[in-house]
Amino acid sequence: MRYDITTGPIDPRELEAAVTHSGAGAICTFSGIVRDNSRGQSVTHLDYEAYAEMAVPQMRKIGQEIKDRWPEARVAMAHRTGHLEIGEVSVVVSVSCPHRAEAFAACRWGIDELKQSVPIWKKEHAADGTHWIEGDEAKPVP
Protein backbone atom coordinates (compact mmCIF):
# COMPACT_ATOMS: atom_id res chain seq x y z
CA MET A 1 0.00 0.00 0.00
CA ARG A 2 1.42 3.33 -0.99
CA TYR A 3 -0.19 6.77 -0.81
CA ASP A 4 1.69 9.85 -1.94
CA ILE A 5 1.18 13.55 -2.49
CA THR A 6 4.15 14.79 -4.49
CA THR A 7 5.37 17.88 -6.32
CA GLY A 8 7.54 15.79 -8.65
CA PRO A 9 6.54 13.75 -11.72
CA ILE A 10 4.54 10.55 -11.10
CA ASP A 11 5.58 7.34 -12.86
CA PRO A 12 2.57 4.98 -13.09
CA ARG A 13 4.96 2.04 -13.48
CA GLU A 14 6.32 2.71 -9.98
CA LEU A 15 2.84 2.39 -8.50
CA GLU A 16 2.28 -0.80 -10.45
CA ALA A 17 5.53 -2.17 -9.04
CA ALA A 18 4.22 -1.39 -5.54
CA VAL A 19 1.10 -3.57 -6.04
CA THR A 20 2.69 -6.38 -8.06
CA HIS A 21 2.99 -9.81 -6.43
CA SER A 22 3.05 -13.40 -7.57
CA GLY A 23 -0.69 -13.97 -6.87
CA ALA A 24 -1.85 -10.88 -8.78
CA GLY A 25 -2.98 -11.86 -12.26
CA ALA A 26 -4.34 -8.42 -13.10
CA ILE A 27 -3.21 -4.87 -12.52
CA CYS A 28 -5.49 -1.99 -13.47
CA THR A 29 -3.93 1.48 -13.44
CA PHE A 30 -5.80 4.73 -13.96
CA SER A 31 -3.68 7.74 -14.93
CA GLY A 32 -5.20 11.21 -15.02
CA ILE A 33 -3.49 13.43 -17.58
CA VAL A 34 -3.55 17.22 -17.96
CA ARG A 35 -5.42 17.90 -21.20
CA ASP A 36 -5.18 20.93 -23.45
CA ASN A 37 -8.85 21.92 -23.36
CA SER A 38 -11.70 22.32 -20.93
CA ARG A 39 -15.18 23.87 -21.12
CA GLY A 40 -14.52 24.56 -24.83
CA GLN A 41 -11.45 26.64 -23.99
CA SER A 42 -7.80 25.91 -24.61
CA VAL A 43 -5.90 25.22 -21.38
CA THR A 44 -2.31 26.36 -20.87
CA HIS A 45 -1.50 24.65 -17.56
CA LEU A 46 -2.93 23.61 -14.18
CA ASP A 47 -2.06 24.19 -10.56
CA TYR A 48 -3.09 21.62 -7.96
CA GLU A 49 -3.26 22.45 -4.28
CA ALA A 50 -3.66 19.85 -1.51
CA TYR A 51 -4.52 19.79 2.17
CA ALA A 52 -1.83 17.15 2.43
CA GLU A 53 -2.25 16.32 6.13
CA MET A 54 -5.83 15.26 5.36
CA ALA A 55 -5.42 14.10 1.76
CA VAL A 56 -3.01 11.27 2.54
CA PRO A 57 -5.19 9.82 5.35
CA GLN A 58 -8.24 10.11 3.07
CA MET A 59 -6.38 8.19 0.36
CA ARG A 60 -5.41 5.56 2.93
CA LYS A 61 -9.07 5.30 4.00
CA ILE A 62 -10.14 4.72 0.37
CA GLY A 63 -7.45 2.04 0.06
CA GLN A 64 -8.79 0.34 3.18
CA GLU A 65 -12.35 0.47 1.79
CA ILE A 66 -11.10 -1.16 -1.41
CA LYS A 67 -9.57 -3.90 0.74
CA ASP A 68 -12.90 -4.33 2.56
CA ARG A 69 -14.77 -4.67 -0.75
CA TRP A 70 -12.12 -6.63 -2.68
CA PRO A 71 -10.08 -8.41 0.02
CA GLU A 72 -7.37 -9.60 -2.38
CA ALA A 73 -6.71 -6.14 -3.80
CA ARG A 74 -3.47 -4.24 -3.31
CA VAL A 75 -3.65 -0.51 -3.86
CA ALA A 76 -1.30 2.40 -4.61
CA MET A 77 -2.35 6.03 -5.15
CA ALA A 78 -0.43 9.19 -5.93
CA HIS A 79 -1.51 12.75 -6.67
CA ARG A 80 0.70 15.54 -7.85
CA THR A 81 0.50 19.13 -6.64
CA GLY A 82 1.88 22.42 -7.91
CA HIS A 83 2.33 23.49 -11.53
CA LEU A 84 1.49 20.88 -14.19
CA GLU A 85 1.94 21.17 -17.94
CA ILE A 86 -0.25 19.64 -20.67
CA GLY A 87 0.36 15.90 -20.96
CA GLU A 88 1.71 15.45 -17.43
CA VAL A 89 0.30 12.86 -15.03
CA SER A 90 -1.77 14.44 -12.24
CA VAL A 91 -3.13 11.36 -10.47
CA VAL A 92 -2.60 7.59 -10.53
CA VAL A 93 -4.58 4.78 -8.92
CA SER A 94 -3.15 1.29 -9.39
CA VAL A 95 -4.88 -1.86 -8.11
CA SER A 96 -3.77 -5.46 -8.37
CA CYS A 97 -6.14 -8.43 -7.94
CA PRO A 98 -6.10 -12.11 -8.87
CA HIS A 99 -8.41 -11.46 -11.86
CA ARG A 100 -9.27 -8.57 -14.17
CA ALA A 101 -12.94 -8.09 -13.27
CA GLU A 102 -12.21 -7.07 -9.69
CA ALA A 103 -9.08 -5.12 -10.71
CA PHE A 104 -11.15 -2.95 -13.10
CA ALA A 105 -13.97 -2.54 -10.57
CA ALA A 106 -11.70 -1.66 -7.65
CA CYS A 107 -9.61 0.80 -9.67
CA ARG A 108 -12.73 2.54 -11.00
CA TRP A 109 -14.21 2.75 -7.52
CA GLY A 110 -10.93 4.07 -6.12
CA ILE A 111 -10.47 6.95 -8.58
CA ASP A 112 -14.16 7.92 -8.28
CA GLU A 113 -13.86 8.06 -4.49
CA LEU A 114 -10.58 9.97 -4.66
CA LYS A 115 -12.20 12.59 -6.89
CA GLN A 116 -15.04 13.02 -4.39
CA SER A 117 -13.38 13.03 -1.01
CA VAL A 118 -9.66 13.77 -1.15
CA PRO A 119 -9.02 17.49 -0.49
CA ILE A 120 -7.01 18.42 -3.57
CA TRP A 121 -8.08 21.32 -5.77
CA LYS A 122 -7.47 22.14 -9.41
CA LYS A 123 -6.85 25.66 -10.69
CA GLU A 124 -7.19 25.82 -14.45
CA HIS A 125 -5.38 28.43 -16.53
CA ALA A 126 -7.26 28.73 -19.82
CA ALA A 127 -7.87 31.12 -22.70
CA ASP A 128 -10.84 32.64 -20.83
CA GLY A 129 -8.89 33.20 -17.61
CA THR A 130 -8.18 31.30 -14.41
CA HIS A 131 -10.79 29.18 -12.64
CA TRP A 132 -11.01 26.91 -9.63
CA ILE A 133 -12.63 23.69 -10.87
CA GLU A 134 -15.10 22.49 -8.26
CA GLY A 135 -16.88 19.42 -9.54
CA ASP A 136 -18.98 20.51 -12.51
CA GLU A 137 -18.45 24.19 -11.75
CA ALA A 138 -15.66 26.54 -12.78
CA LYS A 139 -15.32 29.45 -10.35
CA PRO A 140 -13.46 32.39 -11.90
CA VAL A 141 -10.51 33.83 -10.02
CA PRO A 142 -10.96 37.61 -9.96
Binding site: K115, S117, W121, V141
Partner: protein
Protein backbone atom coordinates in the same frame (compact mmCIF):
# COMPACT_ATOMS: atom_id res chain seq x y z
CA UNK B 1 -15.96 35.51 26.68
CA UNK B 2 -15.84 33.91 30.10
CA UNK B 3 -14.98 30.47 28.76
CA UNK B 4 -13.31 30.38 25.38
CA UNK B 5 -11.51 27.77 23.35
CA UNK B 6 -8.70 28.60 20.95
CA UNK B 7 -8.80 26.91 17.56
CA UNK B 8 -6.75 27.16 14.38
CA UNK B 9 -8.35 27.60 10.98
CA UNK B 10 -6.56 26.80 7.72
CA UNK B 11 -7.79 27.95 4.32
CA UNK B 12 -7.15 26.22 1.01
CA UNK B 13 -7.80 26.87 -2.69
CA UNK B 14 -10.65 29.29 -3.45
CA UNK B 15 -11.40 29.90 0.23
CA UNK B 16 -7.75 30.83 0.86
CA UNK B 17 -7.96 33.45 -1.87
CA UNK B 18 -11.33 34.73 -0.63
CA UNK B 19 -10.19 34.96 2.99
CA UNK B 20 -6.82 36.38 1.84
CA UNK B 21 -5.10 34.43 4.64
CA UNK B 22 -3.75 30.90 4.96
CA UNK B 23 -4.28 30.44 8.68
CA UNK B 24 -6.20 32.19 11.41
CA UNK B 25 -6.30 31.52 15.15
CA UNK B 26 -9.52 32.52 16.87
CA UNK B 27 -11.21 32.08 20.23
CA UNK B 28 -14.81 30.91 20.28
CA UNK B 29 -17.27 30.33 23.11
CA UNK B 30 -17.16 26.90 24.73
CA UNK B 31 -19.79 24.72 23.05
CA UNK B 32 -19.40 26.37 19.65
CA UNK B 33 -20.10 24.15 16.68
CA UNK B 34 -18.37 24.07 13.30
CA UNK B 35 -21.38 25.98 11.91
CA UNK B 36 -20.84 28.67 14.58
CA UNK B 37 -17.15 28.87 13.66
CA UNK B 38 -17.94 29.26 9.96
CA UNK B 39 -20.45 32.01 10.71
CA UNK B 40 -17.75 33.91 12.65
CA UNK B 41 -15.30 33.50 9.77
CA UNK B 42 -17.86 34.77 7.27
CA UNK B 43 -18.22 37.80 9.50
CA UNK B 44 -14.44 38.30 9.40
CA UNK B 45 -14.20 37.56 5.66
CA UNK B 46 -17.43 38.50 3.85
CA UNK B 47 -16.15 37.09 0.54
CA UNK B 48 -16.35 33.50 1.85
CA UNK B 49 -19.16 31.45 0.27
CA UNK B 50 -22.28 30.29 2.12
CA UNK B 51 -22.12 27.21 4.32
CA UNK B 52 -23.98 25.06 1.77
CA UNK B 53 -21.04 25.47 -0.65
CA UNK B 54 -18.43 23.88 1.65
CA UNK B 55 -17.84 20.88 3.91
CA UNK B 56 -16.31 21.05 7.36
CA UNK B 57 -13.25 19.10 8.47
CA UNK B 58 -12.12 18.79 12.07
CA UNK B 59 -8.58 17.55 12.78
CA UNK B 60 -8.14 16.16 9.25
CA UNK B 61 -11.51 14.33 9.11
CA UNK B 62 -14.80 15.39 7.54
CA UNK B 63 -17.20 16.31 10.36
CA UNK B 64 -20.87 17.26 10.81
CA UNK B 65 -21.65 20.95 11.10
CA UNK B 66 -23.10 20.44 14.59
CA UNK B 67 -19.84 18.98 15.96
CA UNK B 68 -18.48 20.98 18.91
CA UNK B 69 -14.92 22.30 18.71
CA UNK B 70 -12.33 21.96 21.46
CA UNK B 71 -9.16 23.82 22.37
CA UNK B 72 -6.33 23.19 19.94
CA UNK B 73 -8.54 21.84 17.16
CA UNK B 74 -7.56 22.34 13.52
CA UNK B 75 -10.59 23.38 11.48
CA UNK B 76 -10.73 23.52 7.69
CA UNK B 77 -13.68 24.38 5.47
CA UNK B 78 -13.41 22.49 2.24
CA UNK B 79 -14.77 23.75 -1.06
CA UNK B 80 -15.75 21.02 -3.57
CA UNK B 81 -12.71 19.09 -4.74
CA UNK B 82 -11.86 18.76 -8.42
CA UNK B 83 -14.27 15.87 -8.98
CA UNK B 84 -17.07 17.46 -6.99
CA UNK B 85 -18.60 16.38 -3.66
Amino acid sequence: MAVAVGIRIRFFARLREQAAVETESIEVAKGSTLADVYAILRGNHPALPGQVAVRAALNQEFADWNTTVAAGDEVVFIPPVSGGF
